[in-house]
Amino acid sequence: MNGAMVDGDSMPAESAISVVLPSVLQPLAGGQSILTTPAEAAVTVERLLDAVTGDYPALSRRLRDETGAVRRYVNIYVNGNEIRRLQGLVTAVAPGQEVLIIQSVAGG
């Protein structure tokens, strides 16, 4: 499950979940823009991130710190909602869904 796309479309198959990466992180995922993992049932965002970043530890560290917390300016969207407004890392993601990772517009 190291990120092969299910098909040419950005949406995953009904038995998979996709995570879409911002371009700046794609070099840390072997150049891939979308990481996909098989999923027969809903999984938490935490398990999803574990699955898709398992082969890419440098990518994993960009998203979450050593305690497992999502970095402050990393936003993760499920169904168009940022997970901090849902159930955080235990937010459920259903098979067939696509999760977006977008850096927040912070800085000066």
Partner: protein, 374 residues
Amino acid sequence: MGRMATAESYVLAIGTKKGLWLATSPDRRHWSLSGPHFLMSEVPSIGIDTRDGRTRILVGVRSEHWGPTVFHSDDLGGTWSEPENGAITFPDGTEAALERIWQIHPDADSRPGVVWAGCEPISVWKSTDGGEHFELNRGLWDHPHRSEWGAGYGGAAAHSIVVDPTGEKVHVAMSTGGVYRSLDGGTSWEPRNKGISAYFMPDPNPEFGQCVHKIAADAAVDGRLYAQNHHGVYRSDDDAESWESIAEGLPADFGFVMLTHPRRAGTAWVIPLKADGERIPPDGKLAVHRTDDAGASWKRLDAGLPDAEYNAVLRDAASVDGAEPTGVYFGTRGGSVYASADEGEHFTEIASHLPDVLCVRAAVVSAALVPAQP
């Protein structure tokens, strides 16, 4: 690509709030600047490790979005490597996460491969593989004082690590916490701040809690250290058992920088700032001050520096090289970088309009590494 005919060249690594620049020179008069590397990430720490027949530049990089990490380059920035699992990560059970790498300090020539790091949250780390993997110093991490150490304005930093030639005496300085000393190579630690004022605390002479901005060891006198404090410039002649003021003769006793000569006893440099209501060079006149008698007297050095400069110089934004005479380098929060090839007697601005300079480190390197000047 042409190569220099001379045996030695010079490299100056400039870490800023928005990336790293590298300057190289065949003669310390003409510099070529390349960069930015790590654009939009801050680079608060740099170590240039010239031991073991190799020049390795280690950088502590921190992205506001993607967090901190350590990269290293063995080809003067041509390529950068990041250990797959990270060079510095807090181990399970600490429930801590790395925030910033404040210091990367290659150890003595006699201990190749050993590199120390000082980090936020306040912690000291040691690598024995040239900075690719660091181990948390448990003695300091588990110290009973740790919960009482505070954060300076810039963060809770273990920013100075001084190791003596034997490797047994290690001094660490932190903002805020003060100076801690280990006599067993870093296994156990005790505060050593007697004589350093903490005027901002109810008890101005506490055992610890001082806001020490930088410490450095005398090159040739065993047991002698210098400290630039949050107000106060000090010297210790007894391995930090006691400190005495050496601020007389300086235009201000506040500042961040403390540099010592790489070989000569008694020589140190500071860059005074007025504080606390202001944080600028006194009267807007930037100057470096050097002592050659361990702080008994100071010489103002401002040849080549601008008439007016209102930007501060941060604690690690200054460095010396290992050449003879010693080169002195510093950068300002206004993005100017100044270099002197004669111990500060004359400065030249070698970079300007960079982002805030957080860290500079200089080294003498093999000329074979450095492309010829155009």
